[in-house]
Symmetry: C2
Subunit: 168 residues, 2 copies
């Protein structure tokens, strides 16, 4: 079977969001063990002008659902960006995974040339589907998953590369 | 044209290694402007038991050249892991890009089912080519590029998401 737009996107997002959820759970357990409020982790950042953990997860999930919906040509599910706890962030990840699971290979495959338009930093950017996925969505998605990992790791949560990669 | 193993790997690595090089250059210029030794950045890490910046770049480049060589069925170029300066890390990135550019689409395309065996944490892991690329190489590659970015950003280097994403 040859590589397809579906294979390179939806199952990849679902796998990595599962790993993200597991990492986040280790963050919650760490806070519990050390008896500090886990909202400290939710609000942590690597630099004063970088986004905190909650926003990293909002953007990672936005990237995945936006990609799936744009390629499939369906409405992007709107999530309010109101999460302030690890439980709420877990619920957002779960909602994103449920949406991704509702999108079929038939809806995504063959979208290599499909025109995708999005607003980026105040101006419109246009991509063909393949460039959108490979040059924009995936680097961005991995950026925010990895930054979430880095924030937790920087705060002493005992996670390692196998948690990030998951089973493969 | 449909998505191929080549398209999903080699040009992606080359683009992101170009962005990594540009980010690293901003790190060097930052050190120069602030008059501190740029080896501070090379040795920086986000947690005491995480790898420093130099190792992040070694692993990112290893991932890219290893993937290209394994899928193409050719020898993996061996680089000594001896870089201690930003210039040396830039040279490693350039050598990796030159190797990636020497690999053709014909060598990579059609490797979706090709068996790839590697030693991971002391045991052998076997993958089909597509799973190797999507579930192991790409998440790992992006992890180390993003962590390099995060280390620089955490140390005050003025870089932003557009530097990481590059032109798309």
């Amino acid at each position: 079977m040859s590589l397809s737009m579906y294979q390179a996107s939806i199952p990849v997002f679902i796998r990595m969001l599962g790993n993200l959820s597991a990492i986040l759970d280790k963050g919650a357990k760490h806070a519990e063990a050390k008896q500090f409020d886990s909202s400290v982790l939710v609000n942590s950042r690597l630099a004063p002008d970088m986004f905190p953990l909650a926003r990293q997860i909002q953007i990672a999930t936005d990237g995945a659902k936006g990609c799936a919906a744009r390629l499939a040509g369906i409405d992007i599910p709107v999530f309010e960006d109101t999460e302030t706890t690890i439980d709420e962030l877990q619920a957002r990840i779960a909602k994103t995974v449920a949406f991704l699971q509702s999108v079929s290979a038939a809806q995504i495959d063959g979208t290599e040339e499909k025109l995708v338009t999005l607003k980026l930093r105040g101006r419109e950017a246009q991509f063909a589907g393949q460039a959108y996925l490979l040059n924009f969505v995936l680097p961005n998605f991995y950026f925010h998953v990895t930054t979430t990992y880095a924030i937790l790791r920087h705060n002493g949560v005992e996670i390692g590369k196998p948690d990030y990669l998951g089973s493969y």
